[in-house]
Amino acid sequence: MIVSHAWLRSFAPHDKSAEEIGELLNDHTVTLDGLESLRSDIASIVVGLVVEQAPHPDSDHLSITKVDDGSGTLLDVVCGAPNVAAGVKYPFARSGTTMPDGLRIEKRKIRGQTSNGMLCSARELKLGYEHDGILALTTAAAPGTPILQVLGEVGDSQLNLDVLPNRPDLLSHRGMAREVSALLNVPMALGDLTEAARQAVTAVPVVQDARQATADGVSVRLDDPASCPRYNAIVIRGVAVGPSPDWLRERLEAVGARSINNIVDATNYILLGLGHPVHAFDLTKLTGHAIVVRPTGDGEQLVTLDGIARSLAAGTTVICDGARPVALAGVMGGRESEVTPDTTEILLEVANFHPRFVRRVRRAVGLITDASYRYERGIDDASSAEAATHCAALILQVAGGRVTARIDVGAAPAPRPAVTLRPSRVARLLGDPVAADESIRILRALGCVVTQSGPDALEVMPPTWRHDLLIEVDLIEEVVRVRGFDTVSDELRAFRPGTVPDHPMHVTEVRVRTFLVGRGLYETRPMPFTTDSASGVRVLNPLAEDEPYLRASILDSLARRAEYNLNRMEGDVRLFEVGHVFARSAGRLPVEEVRVGALLLGKCRPPHFTDPDPALFDAWDAKSLALDLARVAFPGQAVALVPSDTAAMWRVQVNGTDVGGVRRLALDKPVWAGEALGVELTLGVMSSDDVAPAGQHAHAFAGRMSAAVPHVVYRTVPVTPASGFDLALVLPPSVRADDVEKLLREHGGELLESLQVFDEYRGDRLPAGMRSVGWRLQFRHPERTLRDKELDGRRSKLVAALQRELGVTVRG
């Protein structure tokens, strides 16, 4: 909402500057987004101090001066004013400055003397019309200070105030002035309206009816009171359409509105000044001099003021004359009945339309106007008669004519229920007591009617323009914001610790993230949308039609991010993300899982002079990462990587249940890039079931989520030495390493401490299809050193079992 400081002051006369008002409203009412002097055309004029002054050698009226403009260099300036004197400050335009009249000040020679700028008169700055020479400034400000800072209030200022949806009453100058009035404790005023004009209007009697009324040959009928509860019309005859007077034009231009003619400007003045939309029809163009608020029939059309022909869905309530639609109710008037330069008789419409109705119409035609914006948020529906009077009076003031009829059809809004305010509740919610008298004073200043209704109860009747004061806490907000948030203590007080434990998924996420960063991966947060329909979860109204789906896999996102890096010639890409994935379900909401995905691509470690060409990440790196990651994510649980029959290489199992996998990623990648490997684990399901029905809780059922990790149990540290042997085994193609390992453990006896693959060989020296795998076995007896004989015996048993059960032989 753009607010003119001068206009605001016409409703709430005060002596504060625009800056002070902006700050006041920002602190107590509404955020100030910007403040701009409308005299920015003189923003570059600065204070100049004439240090020396001497007569021009070749002129009897010019002076040569030396001017200090704060730049550090004294400037030679030729001046023609008789009143120029050394030691005095004047407005100074440096060369390069554009003056309000468009003249550009340049460095030039005047009768042979160089002049670097101009000392200015009030007229040159459009600050006044007297021209007794240049404007002497009585200011302590240093040379170089912009004169807008030293002249005080110069012209009007625009305040850009961010009115939020709960305060439609602030969408007008009078509404904003009410705040100023309450905050500064100054009375409200009538604004630019003269009392005489108002009385000329109110002298005409009002013809009232619930559904239909006629006066001066003009009739108003209301067929849809649900959409339009009230319609006020005023007929003015004998107006002279023409340009608005300067004051009215300035009011509108100060807030960026265009002046059109005196009638339209008057209606816009009411909209922006009082917040009530008004429409002026050319009465002679209304068939039958009638207004009918009715639903449209089939095929009815309306050309709106913007020149667009709009077909209206049958049943949409519109404003019609005796024959056809003439205005989109609450949104925009029609072109055919608009006020033109030839208009002499007008009908003013000041109606109340229901917010939801206006929203429906506005959406149907795809048009937001100043009127629809206000109707949707809620106008002061008790003010329509007053706004009509105000508008008519203004028209009499600026366009002449006389009021011949006042019609008021429909019902006045029902009075709002009173709200009870308990001073004890104010104290409890705000944390410190507020004297009941002060609450009463504040609420009354805001327009509430307050009566004491009990020992701890105030009966508060909010003003008709405040739709947001519905319950007690709304009134408490008024009390605290008008007093000022700065009056509230910021003393930290004792508190009870909460009952909510950390979400176990958060605990897991922190562990997983710390681990992966430690392993050299970068955390990412990519967009979760994808072209891939795998999840089956589609956004109804996606932003980008090419990525309408929610992802089913983290690795899908990471793969696209890896391609992004490869396109930028970055081949070492180690990324991870902990995020949500989605899957369609039979229920209302998709199933949501929290997963961690990790992608490895490129060199497995940074090059070093001892290893200038490190190996690229391969499946074995991914396998080990997956194992460690699963152990970190599921501490204390049995983790296994199981070869997979599907596209994945390994399935990751925790306590025998699949939680994810390791796979090669198919990337769109250049030839020089290594293979991309991905690990993805499901950390858990994020339930989206309703906890309890609306208005209820499920406290009794709240199980304490336990993220307890089993403690490590100490095993005695060995005191005897270990000993062992290596087995180089030849494996037929059908035998897998874990077959051998299982057998070795089975037959290794209880003294077998560890088992490790240390070598693999395939090649010419072995029969086709065979491979040799080396195992290192380590044994230890807890109480004594093992004898060679014992080890030899164990070795023979193992070799025999391998040969017997797996066809595995010792390599010769």
Binding site: N166, R359, G498, E570, P606, S687
Partner: protein, 363 residues
């Protein structure tokens, strides 16, 4: 005697005080040669008896030092000799100097340790690096915020990103069909399910699950129907907080959030609250901090969070008695903080996952 004393103190470590290289005046060639001789003799003895590098260095200074070395002192006597003697004197002095230098060098060579096989010969060569990972800059901000609130007794609550309209709007006192709801420009999955526009549904879920006192933080991904450009993203992180108990007041809100802001913006920052509006709080406010963002514009008020006292309808909607319990909530955008503190010109940097961007945050 002064010179001799100098030599004695300089070479004290070798417990050797030369007796012959006296400080008597030198005016003839004979005296000069005798003195050079004495220096050569005593010097050699000094070097041979020096133990360790330190003593050898001291001996070098005492003998050849450019300021007060014995030989330097002797050279100062050269101009005093008769012109015809100066050549011979000079030659003798040079011979003495060379001899002493040779002795010193060989003594030092003996002293130098043999090359150490346990140390690489060039220690300026680079160490063997490992890949260093990095936490995402938005996570860094969330971690920092969480750490401060943890000290103030808050725990972390999480919830789903796909939500029902009730949890996202209805339970939070958004009246149906109100412009405030439209302003959110929501991404819908069906008529009554959507991608959450804030993490407030987690607050409602938590209130339905646990008995107050509740002090929680809700970080998480949220969605808005904003086009992806330099300053907007359709999906971004948010962090909200909620505090509910008996008798929790606006003083607690202001005190806790001011304390947070002072810690987060390191102490000296001024803090203010401005009235604002969110359907789920009443009174509603925004908090500004006076900070210098280091962008050359100096200190100014910067909005950091929205907050307010939880609306009684939100409590009632979650089955909490709003007459008995009260509390406050806040919400902030860590991505915006990350952008301002790291001077990011474009929000898309946070999503692109360019490794050249991410590696800058490895510590």
């Amino acid at each position: 005697m002064r010179r001799q004393c100098d030599l004695a103190s300089a070479a004290a470590v070798c417990i050797f005080v030369p007796t012959t290289s006296t400080c008597a005046p030198v005016t003839t060639l004979a005296q000069f040669l005798a003195r050079a001789d004495a220096i050569a003799r005593d010097g050699a003895a000094l070097i041979h008896t020096a133990v360790g590098r330190e003593a050898l260095d001291a001996a070098r200074v005492a003998l050849l030092g450019r300021k007060q070395g014995l030989l330097t002192t002797l050279m100062a006597a050269l101009p005093a000799l008769p012109t015809e003697d100066r050549r011979a004197a000079g030659a003798a002095m040079n011979a003495t100097k060379q001899a002493l230098e040779l002795t010193l060098t060989s003594a030092e060579a003996v002293l130098a340790p043999p090359p150490d096989a346990s140390r690489p010969p060039d220690l300026t060569m680079p160490g063997r690096d490992r890949w260093t990972g990095a936490v995402h800059p938005v996570s860094l901000v969330i971690d920092e915020i969480s750490a401060i609130f943890r000290e103030l007794g808050f725990t972390i609550a999480l919830g789903p990103e796909a939500e029902t309209e009730w949890y996202n709007f209805g339970a939070l006192n958004f009246p149906p069909d109100h412009p405030a709801m439209e302003a959110h420009d929501t991404l819908y999955l069906s008529d009554d399910t959507l991608l959450r526009t804030h993490t407030s549904p987690v607050q409602v879920r938590t209130l339905q699950t646990y008995t107050p006192p509740v002090r929680i933080l809700c970080p998480g991904n949220v969605y808005r129907r904003d086009f992806f450009d330099a300053t907007h993203a359709p999906s971004f992180m948010q962090i909200e907080g909620l505090c509910i108990d008996e008798g929790v007041s606006f003083v607690d809100l202001k005190a806790t959030l001011s304390e947070f802001a002072r810690r987060f913006y390191s102490g000296s920052s001024r803090v203010r609250l401005r009235p604002s509006f969110f359907p789920f709080v009443e009174p509603g406010a925004e908090m500004d901090v006076e900070v210098d963002l280091g962008d050359g514009k100096g200190s100014r008020w910067v909005e950091i969070l929205g907050c307010g006292m939880v609306h009684p309808r939100v409590l009632d909607g979650a089955g909490i008695d709003s007459e008995k319990y009260s509390g406050w909530a806040f919400g902030m955008g860590p991505a915006r903080i990350a952008m301002s503190r790291h001077k990011l010109p474009d929000i898309r940097l946070l999503y692109d996952s360019d490794v050249r961007f991410l590696e800058q945050f490895s510590r």
